[in-house]
């Protein structure tokens, strides 16, 4: 911040000073994690010139209009603005320079400090710390590890996977044929074997012969992959499977757009951004870093409720398929779980439940949680091994036999209980 530490300039060239300060402010925002490109800085300067400097409030919203493009950044902007422009009553000074008569000061006076430049700089560093702290609330650690329903906050490293295990997983996933699930969109593409007439292409082609020959052209519907939303359980009983499964999700995320990943134990974490790392190890390490409740207890109902409330309307659009990975052993209220499952089922195109317990021959849908969830899923599958993953690819590609039909499992359990 060298220009800030250059007071004589203020009187000499107010315009230059303003531009400099806006540029520094933009840079500070960028440091705080807001996406601000160089062109946005130029826009900001232009905007301030357009709007003029009349009050602190207007100045705030002028900069906000140009520099912020996401609602999530509002809080960061507010804090950064307060800290950056407070320190030296910069705005008031600039307003005074801009207007022929000085307007009344709108913000409360602050004492001028000695060495204010250094202070401003230091304060801004402090502001960043505060911003990050605000965004990641401190989490209380529950020391009672005896009951698995507790909020056990442990960070687990993916490196704990044995070398052989990792190798095996990587090899298998690389060899995996990714699912070819396609859904038709309302867009068209030219297709000689299409089933619809394409009048635009016909007319254009006919012009080549001056309209003598109007030959039919065809088009068909364009197909795309539907969005995929993965909700994976990372509680103690599930973390083994989820870890391997995340490798699979990573491979998918790389190959296609719109794959959203959420992890839940006692709370829900969106790790979509972390999964976008090119390197799978790095991506999974990032996930582990982002999640605070690795291998803790589960509250499936609560996690689904928070997904339904905050995320479902943002990620489940345009025919999304949901993959839910959990053992369904719920300790909290089963009613709540059933209600949330119903809502989830109704807001997606297809809900696939992957349950590792299914690999046991004697598995029967008797647990209360499982029985609450089963009526609301479209498919019920196993995910205990890498072979099961290729089965999952087939499942996403469509099809599935009797053994994936949730109703069959319900009926089987009913019979077993009656006997």
């Amino acid at each position: 911040m060298s220009a800030v530490a250059d007071p004589p300039k203020v009187a000499a060239d107010p315009d230059g000073k303003l531009a400099d300060n806006i540029a520094y402010f933009a840079r500070a925002l960028r440091k705080a994690g807001v996406k601000v490109g160089p062109s946005a800085t130029l826009d900001a300067i232009a905007a301030v010139k357009t709007a003029g400097l009349t009050s602190r409030d207007d100045f705030y919203w002028t900069l906000h209009a140009v520099l912020i493009t996401r609602h999530e950044d509002d809080a960061v902007f507010g804090e950064a603005f307060r800290l950056f422009w407070r320190s030296r009553e910069l705005i008031e000074k600039m307003i005074a320079m801009f207007s022929p008569k000085a307007p009344p000061r709108q913000s409360e006076r602050e004492k001028k400090r000695a060495g204010e430049d250094r202070a401003a700089e230091a304060m801004f560093e402090g502001a960043q710390d505060r911003i990050t702290k605000q965004e990641r609330p401190e989490i209380e650690i529950d020391a009672s590890l005896t009951v698995s329903g507790n909020d056990v906050l442990r960070q687990k490293d993916f490196a704990q996977m044995s070398v052989r295990e990792i190798e095996e997983a990587k090899r298998a996933i690389a060899a995996l044929r990714l699912p070819s699930d396609w859904i038709a969109t309302r867009r068209f593409r030219p297709d000689p074997r299409g089933d619809r007439i394409d009048p635009r292409a016909m007319m254009r082609a006919s012009m080549r012969t001056g309209g003598d020959l109007v030959l039919p052209k065809f088009r068909s519907r364009r197909e795309i992959h539907p969005p995929l939303v993965v909700l994976a359980d990372i509680s103690g009983s599930m973390s083994q499977y989820t870890r391997v499964f995340l490798h699979f999700i990573h491979a998918l995320t790389e190959k296609r757009r719109r794959v959203h990943t959420f992890l839940f134990g006692t709370r829900l974490t969106n790790v979509t951004r972390q999964m976008r790392h090119k390197d799978p190890d790095e991506a999974l390490a990032d996930c582990a870093g982002a999640v605070k409740d690795w291998s803790g207890g589960t509250r499936i109902g609560e996690a689904l409720a928070s997904f339904n409330l905050t995320w479902s309307r943002r990620v489940l659009t345009q025919g999304a398929v949901v993959i839910l990975i959990t053992d369904g052993l719920e300790r909290d209220s089963v009613d709540e779980l059933s209600k949330q499952m119903e809502r989830l089922h109704k807001s997606c195109r297809r809900l696939i439940w992957l349950n590792p317990l299914l690999r046991f021959d004697g598995f029967s849908a008797r647990a209360k949680g499982v029985r609450a969830m089963l009526p609301h899923v479209d498919e019920f599958r196993s995910v205990h091994s890498l072979e099961a993953m290729s089965a999952l690819c087939d499942a996403l590609s469509g099809g599935g036999g009797r053994e994936t039909d949730p109703r069959w499992w319900m009926n089987a359990a009913d019979r077993a209980m009656a006997a």
């Binding site: 207007d58 919203w61 906000h64 209009a65 493009t69 867009r187 009048p199 757009r257 409330l309």
Partner: protein
């Protein structure tokens, strides 16, 4: 009659106010900037906070035509930009054949001429006369797909479109573009970067009361104050869908129709469907929570002078 663009933030506020749109300072600022800098305005927010209304009000206040493009999945060039009138083209070809006129060049230039062009919203918006550029409202952009966003980039940054058979059409005066989204999907940063972004939030109690007074003038003052306080409180508890301003106005009108002069529990439970649109939310309110909220609201209003 076209009015001039506002020259300051205050004037922008007055302009909206004149059309009965009660805007806060933040919105007036961003709107003023967008008009002045000629940049599209990107409005994001929950359903029913008055995003679409801004475009309508602006068009009415400035005396400009409003051109609306409602987005939906699969929106493509032929329904957003232009389409050729194929039937008419075919007939034209047949007529020419019948009359023995087969000059290729003449045919080509005639068949693809403006006579056979069907103008869709975006093309219409680009053909405004100087000083009379229309307001182009691109509504609910999140409903369409990424491909359409990419298509918008060219139009928003250069104010021109290319029609292969006809050439490039450039706007004499760029339209005033307003884009709205409900955030059912994240819009790409490349598009947002070209716009001025504003998150339209639920209004504060005071502003909402003003809005109700303007939009539902029949409701008496006491009722208006109570229902606004009630709605404000509803937004604080985590409902699946909090009521927007549009719902508040509807509710005020509904209660007026029922000749209510003040809120009472019976009225609230009868008309809850106007305010809340999810069964879970309504059930939760009916279980007694609405009574508690109402009691609190009454107590608070009684305490205030």
């Amino acid at each position: 009659m076209t009015s001039k663009l506002p020259a300051s933030i205050d004037e922008t506020e007055e302009l909206l106010d004149g059309q009965n749109y009660v805007a806060d300072r933040a919105l007036a600022t961003v709107l003023f900037l967008s008009l002045k800098m000629g940049r599209p305005l990107f409005l994001e927010g929950e359903a029913g906070v008055g995003k679409t209304e801004i475009a309508k009000v602006l068009a009415a206040a400035l005396g400009r035509p409003l051109i609306r493009l409602q987005c939906y999945e699969g929106l493509d060039v032929s329904s957003a930009l232009y389409e050729w009138n194929y039937a008419a083209q075919m007939i034209e070809i047949r007529l020419r054949e019948a009359s023995g006129d087969t000059s290729k060049d003449a045919m080509r230039s005639d068949i693809f001429s403006e006579r056979f062009l069907i103008r869709r919203p975006i093309l219409q918006a680009l053909e405004g006369e100087p000083g009379y550029a229309p307001v182009l409202l691109i509504d609910e952009l999140d409903r369409t797909d990424e491909a359409f966003e990419a298509f918008l980039l060219e139009i928003l940054s250069d104010n021109q479109v290319t029609i292969p058979e006809l050439g490039t059409i450039r706007a004499a005066e760029p339209p005033i573009v307003i884009i709205t989204t409900n955030r059912t999907r994240e819009i790409h940063d490349a598009l947002k970067r070209r716009c001025l972004y504003h998150w339209v939030d639920y209004p504060a109690a005071e502003r909402e009361l003003q809005i109700v007074r303007r939009k539902a003038p029949q409701a008496n003052a006491e009722l208006a104050a109570e229902l606004v306080a009630f709605v404000q409180r509803l937004r604080k508890i985590d409902l699946f869908k909090a009521p927007g301003v549009a719902e508040t106005i509807d509710w005020a009108n509904a209660l007026t129709e029922l000749n209510a002069v003040a809120l009472d529990p019976a009225h609230v439970s009868d008309t809850l469907g106007v305010l809340l649109k999810y069964h879970d939310d309504i059930q939760r309110m009916e279980r007694g929570e609405s009574r508690e909220i109402l009691a609190e609201v009454k107590r608070e209003l009684a305490r205030a002078p």
